[in-house]
């Protein structure tokens, strides 16, 4: 590093009033009091979660939200996955376990016999969704995932397909399968564009 690259920051010189510390304390108290008595600001900031959700307010960005996984079905009702192992390879925590089998359909060679995702291990990074060449695996806006045992939290193929059935109205499958890399998700731009509303 050269000497001219070093930026020396000087602490700003305090004025006589600031050095006394007391006026600054009063200033701080004014700020906290202002926040204390502004109900509107509080209402805007806080969501009373179980009754008032982001989705209920229409603030959840459905196309981008990374919640529980689902396995998509193609228009004929078949599982869209071709068991290419791209997602389990891309997965940074190895939470996807696939066993491939011969496909009964003429348009593809393989299909998954087993497709398990350990939802406790998953970090919801969305790499699997990006890796999938046929847009079969997707993350949904569902985040209320609970279970009593660890085994229950390993979602198998049937459960993942059931998630698709539950969420296909909310977030339709991108069709045709090769799409714009999940940028819009087929939603209008005001829904899909990130940071469309200013942060509170």
């Amino acid at each position: 590093m050269r000497d001219q690259d070093v930026i020396v920051l000087q602490e700003p010189r305090l004025t006589a009033v600031e050095r006394l510390y007391l006026p600054q304390i009063l200033d701080g108290l004014r700020t906290t009091l202002r926040h204390m008595f502004s109900l509107a600001r509080r209402r805007q900031t806080v969501r009373q979660y179980p009754e008032d959700t982001r989705q209920g307010r229409g603030e959840l960005r459905i196309a981008n939200y990374r919640g529980v996984h689902r396995l998509n079905k193609d228009p004929h009702g078949r599982v869209a996955c071709v068991a290419c192992f791209m997602c389990s390879t891309a997965c940074p925590v190895q939470c996807i376990h696939i066993e491939a089998g011969e496909s009964p359909w003429p348009d593809r060679e393989k299909c998954p016999v087993k497709f398990d995702i350990d939802e406790l291990r998953c970090i919801y990074c969305g790499f699997c969704e990006e890796a999938c060449p046929v847009d079969a695996i997707e993350l949904t806006p569902h985040y209320e995932l609970v279970g009593r045992t660890r085994e229950e939290m390993i979602l198998d193929k049937e459960k993942l397909l059931a998630v698709y059935e539950r969420t296909k109205e909310l977030k339709p499958r991108k069709n045709p399968p090769i799409t714009d890399y999940g940028l819009t998700g087929g939603q209008p731009p005001e829904v899909s564009r990130p940071n469309v509303q200013g942060k509170v």
Partner: protein
Amino acid sequence: MQDQDVQRVERLLRSPWVVIGAGVLLLALVGGLLALTFPLYRDLLASPFWFPIIVMTGMLMLILTSTAICILAERKIAAFTQDRHGPNRVGWWGLLQPVADGLKFLLKEDIIPRNVDRPLFLLAPCLSLTISLIGFAIIPWAGQVHWPWMEPGATVSTQVASLDIGVLYLLAVGSLGVYGVVLAGYASNNKYSFYGGMRAAAQMISYELPLGLALVCLLLTTGSLRLEVIVQQQATSGLWYVFIHPLVFLLVLVSGFAETNRLPFDLPEAEQELVGGYHTEYSSMKFAMFFLAEYAHMITGSALMIALFFGGWAPLPFSSWLADRTTWWAMLVRLGIYLGKIGLFIGLFMLVRWTLPRFRFDQLMRLAWRSLAPIGLGLVAGMAVLTAIGLHRTWWACLALNLLVTLVVLRLAAHARRPVTGRQEDLPDLNVFPIGTPTGVIDHA
């Protein structure tokens, strides 16, 4: 039951009228009971021996209950200053949260670590709570009261103990409070707890000094250590001492914050540095006792400051209304006013806590020794001069002295190069282990 019925009952229970009705019912019940049993305690109320005991019991109950409410208030104020709602699930707007908290504390497992100093470990929370509660003995809650059935002219005092050394007693008890903290830190056999306790001791000793000096100035003006006399003086003249001694009040306020270990001076329990400070190893009810002690301490501190500077039970500044009344309704009004003032003070304590960041330890020490103590010394010297020329009871002389010292301080501050609390680079360069020296080797050369 049908789902709709459940919802209807739920809605009914959530409505504010239920809690208002319950409150009115409770008041009516207590009032009715008191009215029915009146002949039983009529003579006790008039007795100068029993009446203080009744006051003591009542106030003890009130304070222990209000500490629980204080905790709720603290959380609510914390939430409101941070644009949150705070606890609002238990009861109406979270009003039953203290009950839930208390139950939780009672039911939690009480862990005593194996390597602690057992007797001291058990003693510390009791000591802490007891000491913070005995301070209430000398608070003059509502002055003298004359019950209608007493002989004309006779009165009983609402003060539990009228001590000649009133203010000194409060100072002594207030600084005893640190014993609980130090013992807890020592007995825990944990270096972070111990460090917290040591910090508390050092802080207490440092801030006793400005507090004592400031109180000396005030006591030269009042001429008495009895709290009830000080309050009566203010109530009669209407000149609260905060108007006469504003700078003295400021010193007492800052020291009061430090004495109660509240933010910005809560270094003994600094979570970020000391895990939990002196109560790291405590759990369940013993932890709750430390908690109660802190809030009780806060209430004592506020009561002391109000008695000394804000006229105690005196309702209005610059007026002597109610000052010489001894009827029972005047007593109730005074009590309400005292408690209201304490509430306001505690609100200030909490608001300050959620506004200011914590001091570094050297800043804390520098604030006490380099700025508060010299100001206190200057004030004492000035008051000594005023006493010598016989002006220590005149309000304008005291006010002029306070303003003069304030101006001098402002003048000095305008020329100081550093803030009073100092900066990181002002720390002494101890250089115990210079870089490159292996730390295990001591060079004796």
